[in-house]
Symmetry: C2
Subunit: 465 residues, 2 copies
């Protein structure tokens, strides 16, 4: 029932069914994704994957983003490489209720498909993107939090299915074919949390994009799968959510084929509008695990006071931060040795906020992570968990050698649903990431992305990217 219901919803959804606020969120999600994919295209991990897999590349169908002069390869590998690039700086988007980074797997598969086939408008693209993001987040909600606690990287485990339904929607698969695409995607479960801190973390959304693309293409060709892949006794939800009880009800609640659950998939009637997860997507102001964001936010604010009051970093005696317990579980690396590990260090986050007054990919490069001055501030940071704190809350107290204290209590971090990233900040983030790669064409590219809804053929847009 869950699989069939999801396929039917995806198949039947029309652009006019989607509230405009949801479309706007999808546009921002795509904009943010494109910036991340372009910005991550020069990262070591992306380059290694490109070079290692080059012998297998098929015909030129789809672009690898971030290359001056078009570089096109087969759609499968383009989906993988753009997916890796979009996640490699840990700078992408976040569906806060599940900490899924939803756009990576879906947009990577979808843009590659749109370019390969041609003839799809910006609205076709956005509608498909929305079906994918909704599918990922609803399925994530259904297995949350046990699925994540056990050790699955929820972005990619749901991402394969999100990418599959999105590509199914774009290619115009029938409802039955979409059922089989969901089955083929659900059986490819990629992503262990143990990989956090290594390049394999960014491989996850890339591989999820490929999994979904392959699933949809095979299903379109007539390859068969289970028709109850999501809800069966030994199907997706029960296997990847094995420590959670009553997954049947949970699927029913979030996919909404029970009696009008408020949180169900967005519906076509105004009497039962459902809940759109795309609208709840947020964008990272800092390129690291989202739980560190309130600490960086607070430290950036304290940095301004340092500057205005002419304090010297050398005079810091101690930096005491109070955080949600998950912060230490996920990001407790006291002495990160390189850029990948620094993403999982609340201590590094606090230090760069205080020293630089910002947290962009530049503050996570190896040279910064290994800089003695940064290390000296980092070593002064102590972090304590406080059960009553929310995940987007933090308190920072900097004690100077003369006993003076600077304090900051961040109630909701920038980038949270209460303090969303403004369009200006999104554009600043885009500029930060893409300036080196895009040069003069940065402004035009940014504008073209914001106008995706009006694009006649997505091939035109990707030729700009």
């Amino acid at each position: 029932m869950a699989t069939r219901h999801l396929a039917s919803w995806v198949h039947n959804l029309k652009y006019s069914d989607v509230p405009h606020v949801v479309v706007n969120s999808a546009v921002s999600s795509f904009y943010n994704w494109a910036g991340c994919a372009i910005g991550g295209s020069k990262h070591h991990a992306t380059v290694i994957a490109h070079d290692a897999l080059k012998p297998f590349f098929g015909p030129p169908q789809s672009s690898i983003l971030g290359h001056k002069g078009k570089l096109t390869i087969d759609a499968q590998h383009a989906a993988l490489l753009n997916g890796i690039a979009s996640h490699v700086h840990d700078y992408d988007d976040t569906h806060l209720d599940t900490i899924i980074h939803p756009t990576g797997p879906v947009a990577s598969a979808l843009l590659a498909t749109a370019e390969w086939k041609g003839g799809y408008s910006g609205q076709d693209f956005l509608l498909a993107l929305i079906t994918g993001i909704e599918a990922e987040c609803k399925l994530g909600l259904a297995v949350w939090p046990e699925h994540y606690d056990v050790g699955w990287h929820i972005t990619s485990t749901t991402g394969s299915i999100g990418a599959a339904v999105a590509v199914s929607k774009l290619l115009g698969l029938s409802e039955d074919q979409t059922v089989h695409a969901i089955g083929l995607a659900s059986t490819q479960v990629v992503g262990l949390r143990e990989m956090f801190g290594s390049q394999t973390k960014s491989f996850h959304p890339g591989r999820a994009a490929q999994n979904g693309l392959m699933a949809a293409v095979l299903a379109q060709g007539g390859y068969t799968s289970s028709e109850i892949a999501l809800e069966a006794k030994r199907g997706w939800a029960n296997v990847v959510g094995v420590t959670k009880s009553d997954l049947g009800s949970s699927l029913e609640r979030w996919l909404g084929f029970g009696a009008g659950a408020k949180e169900s998939l967005g519906l076509h009637t105004t009497t039962q509008p459902g809940r759109w997860e795309t609208e709840r997507n947020s964008f990272k102001p800092f390129p690291c695990g989202i739980v560190i964001h309130p600490i960086i936010d607070g430290c950036v604010q304290i940095h301004s006071e340092f500057e205005s009051q002419s304090f010297d970093l050398k005079d810091i005696e101690e930096v005491h931060v109070t955080v949600h317990p998950l912060v230490l579980e996920l990001t407790g690396k006291k002495k990160p040795k390189d850029h990948l590990e620094s993403k999982f260090s609340v201590y590094h986050g606090a230090a760069i906020g205080l020293i630089y007054g910002k947290g962009t990919p530049a503050q996570y490069e190896d040279e910064v992570v290994q800089d003695p001055m940064v290390i000296s501030v980092r070593d002064k940071v102590n972090a304590v968990a406080e059960q009553s704190f929310r995940a987007d809350e933090a308190k920072i107290v900097v004690t100077m050698k003369d006993g003076k204290k600077l304090e900051k209590h961040v109630v909701h971090a920038v980038g949270s649903s209460e303090v969303p990233l403004t369009t200006e900040l999104l554009e600043e983030k885009f500029r930060d990431q893409c300036e080196v790669v895009l040069g003069n064409s940065l402004g035009a590219t940014s504008t073209a992305l914001w106008n995706v809804e009006d694009v006649k053929d997505m091939r035109d847009l990707s030729s700009i990217l």
Copy 2:
């Protein structure tokens, strides 16, 4: 420790370390695999996958087996398609302690790699194949049976890792690179048991082959992963074996880095020889779930008595079979509607044994499954579970309308470790599968496969296949 230990074992194993009886099993495993891959190359599922994915094919590097006139595509897709073909008739091999079909994922990845790169001898190939099969089966034993019970298709969940270590071995990766290859493979967990009975089941070993090949190639290029992927708290064993307790000890027992466990990985010294899982591989005499084999075996024997005593099928009143409980759980489909479902019907297995006196892929074609005569015999079959029976044991009682009874108690089915398939039967199976495809060259191909150990360059062998 488990990951490092496995990588070190793989990296250091020499051909001279492997007992010849193990090499012989590897040769039989490869022979049986090649027959299945050739025989499955014309199956609907293989053809659909080929046609659907053709737009993405890269340069000609590796053969798709079973095509007259060489058909070469990129190694990644060749691994996928040969992997699908080798499993699609459910006719491959079985490591009975885990019901893993070990050769499919490993040989599919390995042959594609050997052809792509060139210069690898038959001994290089067999040594790599053995490392892959050992890795799969040892890891399977470590998470068995909870992992399978929950709903994972253990052939492909361990197959990605087996394929990765085999390709790592063949390509000569360092121990460190092999560690990362294991990590990259372990995070790609493919295969839900819910897919049994659909074409997606055969997709699993094919995708596992690709996962492993990609993992090894990325690791060779320098892509990093966890160094404790198998044993970490949120690593492979704990995540995919979450309902099993004490996985650390289990890994230690089967990989054997504890104090000289008898079942450890085969070692280089005669004082601690370990246990070789390759030697325990078995080959299916019938193209269906292995638990049905004792029933078919018994019914084939009764068929001979029918013939010698001139009984008529129409005079059967009832066929009563007593089986291990797992038989009904896995293969209890009373009214299979097509060839895929018939593989999971103990009733169909009994009927074709009685009617045809054999069980080859021909007895599982749609026309046979839907034949009224077959249906009439199938409908007379009743199956009862008996807790005290082993999985390779069955009792069949055929009652004729005149009250006469024919009985057969199969203590160990043909193909079990007690009654292994003879070389003659393996060759007969090869002939059955490959005659249509290979025609006149069948004999030469069969001989070439048996002589794989003497091959100078595996490219020479694949040009014959």
